[in-house]
Structures are given as structure tokens and as C-alpha cells.
């Protein structure tokens, strides 16, 4: 939901601002002609296209944060655990229906296209050939990787800090955290806002990469894939998430490539089957994980705050096991 929101907001902002900055007339941003003019502006003015990209990202993050705050109001007040997933599912579907049926937001059902990467203008300076199209995209992909590393470092910093310990305590034992005078609902709200800001950023980056924003992209299967990534690597574990994301993305790309390969051998094969098969494999992976390995592939590690590394608990202990005996992880989390 937040991912989709970031995408649509980013695209709309980009489409509105590009002509505005370059002085061209702002027409209807859903037209084919406006799409062409977006592309020509992106080709002609390097400074404008990069600055618009930055602004679009900022707006997407802002929108994600605001929506996270709004959604946290009902989501954190429900009584049962699974009502929360119910609320988020409802939120996602609401977003999709509203965007599909409101042409004012992201051009409704048809979506908004002609969003070129911020380095599209580079192709002016390159010799024509296969490189001309590949270099701007490759450069943009590198920027995305850098931003992803940034987000990862940020998440690691959060987790390995006293605040990360607080998060763990809120998750493991709400009552104990409340008894220690921690404002549980405030912490949960904060973390939801941080999460949705990241999702908004990712959505805008994604839209810039694929070039279109349509509400039909943000189907529940996408959220489901992200869940599988999370559980596969081990939730509550940023490194695990990296592993999970890597495996699922490999599955995704691998299924595309193998689909093309298979099609050349079996021309009668229905190409839809590859996509459907991928979703089915994801579902089976999740089920197997839930039954046999609920902690994921990588186990949750302890919180490494500054104090922890200062006293060097882990290294002095002669046993090389990942769980030193003196401080069990649970007590570690709740005593903060």
C-alpha cells in the first residue's frame, strides 16, 4: 500500500513539475502528448530532471509517512493481532480502488507513464548503439543500490541501538514494556511511520525505474512476495531480509528468463503459467517455512548497542556459540 502510494505520488509530482520547471505549458498530464513532452524535457534539461526526481522522492516519502501515521490510528487500536493484518489489507485495497476510480490521482485506471530515469539525458552524450539506452538505466540502478545500502545501514543502526532494544521489548512483551514506563503506542506509531516512509521511497524509485505507475501493479501478490522475503530470511533480522529479498528476486528474474528459454523450446507453452507458477512457488515456500522453520534461514541476533561492544560480552566468552549464557536474548530485550 505504502509502496504503491509512493509510486503514484512520485509519478504525479514528477509529471506535474517537469513542465512547470522547464516553462512548458502544463496540460492534462494523462495525455499522450504530455507523455512525449515529459520525455523531451527529460532529454533536454539535465538539471531539471534530476532536481524533479529528488523532489518527487521527497514527496513520496512525505506522503508515505503521512499515510503511515493515518493508518497507524486504526491499526494500533484493534484488539486482536490478526485484525491488524485485516486493517492493512483493507487499507491496501482501499488505496487501489480509490486510485483506480479517481482520474485526478495518477490518471486513474490507465496510470501515468513516460516517467524516465533521472539520467535519461545522458543518452544525448553517448554514441548511438545498445549502450545509449543501457547506461542511464544502469547508472540509475546503481543509485538505487546505493540508496538501498543506505536504508539497510539506517535500519541496522536503529536495531543496534537502545531504541532497537525498546522495539524488541515492545514486540516481545508489551505489558513489561509498559510497566517500565515505555510509551508502547507511541513507539509503534513511530516505527510504522519510519517503515512507510521507506516504502514510499521504494515506490517512487520503482516507478522511475519501470517508467509507469498504474494501480493494477500493486496487487496483494506483491505484498505477499515481501512477506515471503521477510519470513524466508528470518524476521526481526535485517541481514535475513537481504537474503530473503535476494532469493525471491532471483526467483522472479529467474522465472522470467527461464520462461523465455522454455518458450523457445516449447512454443505451445502458455507464457502465463510461468508467472502463476512463480506465485505458487512463493506460497509453497512460505507454507514450508511456517511449518518447518518458523525462525527463517538466519536466526535473530542480539542487539549490539555501543555499551554491548564496549563491555565486549560476546568475545570474552570462550564458547563460540551465538547465544552466550550470561544474558539470554529475551531478558536482554526486556531489561533494556
Amino acid at each position: 500500500m505504502f509502496f504503491g502510494l509512493g509510486g503514484v505520488v512520485g509519478a504525479t509530482v514528477a509529471a506535474d513539475l517537469l513542465p512547470l520547471f522547464s516553462g512548458a505549458a502544463v496540460g492534462n498530464i494523462c495525455d499522450i502528448s504530455s507523455r512525449l513532452s515529459r520525455e523531451s524535457i527529460a532529454l533536454a534539461y539535465p538539471a531539471i530532471s534530476v532536481s524533479v526526481w529528488v523532489i518527487a522522492l521527497a514527496f513520496a516519502m512525505l506522503a508515505g509517512g503521512i499515510m503511515g501515521l493515518v493508518a497507524s490510528y486504526p491499526a494500533l487500536r484493534v484488539k486482536e493481532e490478526w485484525f491488524l493484518s485485516m486493517i492493512l489489507l483493507v487499507g491496501g485495497e482501499t488505496f487501489r480502488i480509490v486510485v483506480t476510480n479517481t482520474p485526478e490521482i495518477g490518471c486513474g485506471f490507465n496510470g501515468l507513464d513516460g516517467i524516465t530515469t533521472p539520467f535519461y539525458w545522458l543518452s544525448n552524450y553517448l554514441p548511438s548503439g545498445p549502450l545509449q539506452a543501457e547506461v542511464p538505466t544502469g547508472l540509475y540502478a546503481a543509485v538505487i543500490v546505493l540508496l538501498a545500502i543506505g536504508c539497510f545501514v539506517f535500519a541496522q543502526k536503529i536495531c543496534n541501538s537502545p531504541y532497537g532494544r525498546l522495539l524488541k521489548s515492545v514486540r516481545d512483551d508489551k505489558v513489561a514494556a509498559e510497566a517500565l514506563a515505555k510509551d508502547v503506542s507511541r513507539v509503534r506509531k513511530q516505527i510504522m511511520v519510519i517503515g512507510s516512509i521507506m516504502a514510499g521511497l521504494a515506490g517512487a524509485l520503482y516507478v522511475y525505474y519501470i517508467g509507469v505507475a498504474t494501480p493494477e501493479d500493486y496487487i496483494p501478490a506483491l505484498t505477499f512476495g515481501i512477506w515471503v522475503m521477510m519470513i524466508l530470511g528470518g524476521y526481526a533480522n535485517n541481514r535475513g531480509l537481504l537474503l530473503g529479498a535476494f532469493v525471491i528476486t532471483m526467483l522472479d528474474r529467474g522465472s522470467l528468463v527461464s520462461g523465455i528459454a522454455l518458450e523457445s523450446y516449447f512454443p505451445t507453452l502458455n507464457s502465463n503459467l510461468i508467472v502463476y507458477g512463480r506465485y505458487m512457488v512463493e506460497a509453497v515456500i512460505l507454507l514450508l517455512l511456517l511449518v518447518f522453520r518458523r525462525k527463517g534461514l538466519l536466526p535473530e541476533t542480539r542487539v549490539k548497542t555501543k555499551a554491548y561492544t564496549l563491555f565486549d560480552f560476546g568475545k570474552k566468552n570462550a564458547k563460540p556459540s551465538s547465544q552466550p549464557a550470561e544474558v539470554p536474548p529475551k531478558g536482554d530485550a526486556t531489561t533494556g
Binding site: 486504526p74 484488539k79 486482536e80 493481532e81 490478526w82 483493507v90 476510480n101 514486540r171 505458487m280
Partner: protein
Amino acid sequence: MLEWLPGSILLSLFQGSIYVVVSLGLTLTLAVVKLPNFAHAEFLTIGGYVGVVVSAVYPDNLLVIGAAAFLVCSAIGLAIHHIAFKPLMDRKVSIYILVLASFAVAQFIRYSVFSWASVVGLLSATQNIKVYSLVTLYNTELTNVYALAIVLAILMSVLLELFLKMTRMGKSMRAIASNFDLARVSGINVSRVVDVMWIIAAGLGGIGGMVFGIYTTVTPALGFSTLLDIFAVVIIAGLTSFTGTIIGGYIVGFSQTTVMEFLNYYFGVSLGYQPLLPFALIIVILLLKPTGLAPSSTGLSTIRKFARRNSSGPREGEPPKE
């Protein structure tokens, strides 16, 4: 000026009846095995497709088609219980894990149906059942589909009520619903009763889908598009009350059709926003009255049971709340 009203009320009754039939199965699942089964709506899809396949062979033979839909869905319900949910329940996992698992099951069934339909070329199909008008009142045709759905809803509610109150199996089912351990200690064959529960719950979903498939085009996404409506019904019902489910089904049916057309007619609200009304109902009820609208002792006790189950002792594999 109100010429849309009778037709719209009739359509609401029809949709409400479908929701009642399908949601009765979900309520049963929630009451007996305490599982919010997000895969329940997929039975609707399967029922619809069974209707398509069987009606090609036996056109207009509602009894055969209905029985086939019931049987196929029951078999699939039993299979997913034994393959996916039972191993998890035996490990006493948290309800959150069960919800995730039911999403996985739903996704697997949905895309299996997608694959099958794509190979056979039935990605959007209709059932070979003739729809004709029985009576015409106020320019509104009461077709056989509408009558069938309404009669079916009443019949199924009465049958289920009789089954739960009169038969030995139904009584054991209620015993399991109110206290699982006590029921087992007192000698009830729990796994057999749970199997019967899955047969009934999945079969009800299938029959509902079959009747719904006469009215609309059957697509593999048919179940998913009604998933949240069905959950709106059971949330209005307070999760485990059968009376509440019947009331909730018609509330959702009316909010989707009559209220929506009213809004469209007088305020010009686009009909595309139709699914938002049940969503609003879900959120409002979860926030204001999570025990549902129906005053029912079984509903309340199950909610308490949920709460106990969630707070008692450490369980492994509890995912973080987001």
C-alpha cells in the same frame, strides 16, 4: 423517480443471500478451529468453476451442479486442512502464523486456478444455466437465480441450525467451539469432528460460489474480490455468531447495492467506489465494537478465548507487530 429502488433491493437481497451462504462456512471455521481463513473466499472461485464445467455437461441441472460444487470444495477443504493447517495447529502456533499460512494457501489455490483456467482457456467463463424471469413486479424481474439464492440462504441457515442443535455431530462441534480441551477430554473424536466441519464449511463456500457464478462471469479472481466483503460479514457478526452472520450478510449486501445506488443517484458518487462501503464497515466495527453487532454469548466467549490464547505463555515464532 424511485424506479431503481425495487430492483436494487432485490439485488441486495440476492447478494446478501450469497454472502450469508458463504460466510456461514467461515463463521463455522472461526467458531470451531479459531482460524480466520483467508483462503475461504477461494472456495467461491472453485464453486463457480465447478459450475462452469459441470453445467457444460448437465445444463440447467441445478441439483447435480450444486452437489458437484459442494463435493469438490469439501475435498479441497479437507486437503488444505490436512496439508497446511493441521501441522501448524498441532504445533500450537500463534494466530498470526495461521493467518499468514491461510494467505499462502489462498495464493496457491488462486494461482492454481489461474494456471488451469489459462491452459483450458476459461479465464473468464459463464455457466450454462438459463436465467429466466419468474414474476415481474414494479418493472422488476424476479429471476430464478435471485429466487434460488434467497431460498438457498434460508435453507442452509435452517439446516445448519438443525444440524448444530439436533445431531450428535453438531453438538460435539459446539462443544469443541466452546472448549477444545474439555471436548477432547470428554471423549469426542476431535479430529473427525473437525474434518466434518471443514467439509461443511468448504462446501457452503462452493455452493455460494456456484450460485454467484450464475449471476456474474466466473474469473479466477472472483473469490479474492469478495474476500473482504465476507470478512466484513463475519466481523459484523462478531466472528462466531450464526444469527449475526445472517444479519451481517444482508447488511453488507444492502450497503453494497442499495446504499451505493442511493449515493450514486443523489450525490453522484461513482459506482467504482462500491467495495469501499464494506471496508468502512470493517474498520468502524473493529474500532468501536470488536465483539460485533450481534449480542451472542458464544461470540463473547470466543473473543475471551482469543485473548487468553494470545496472552498465555511464550510461544515460539511470534512475528513482530508492524
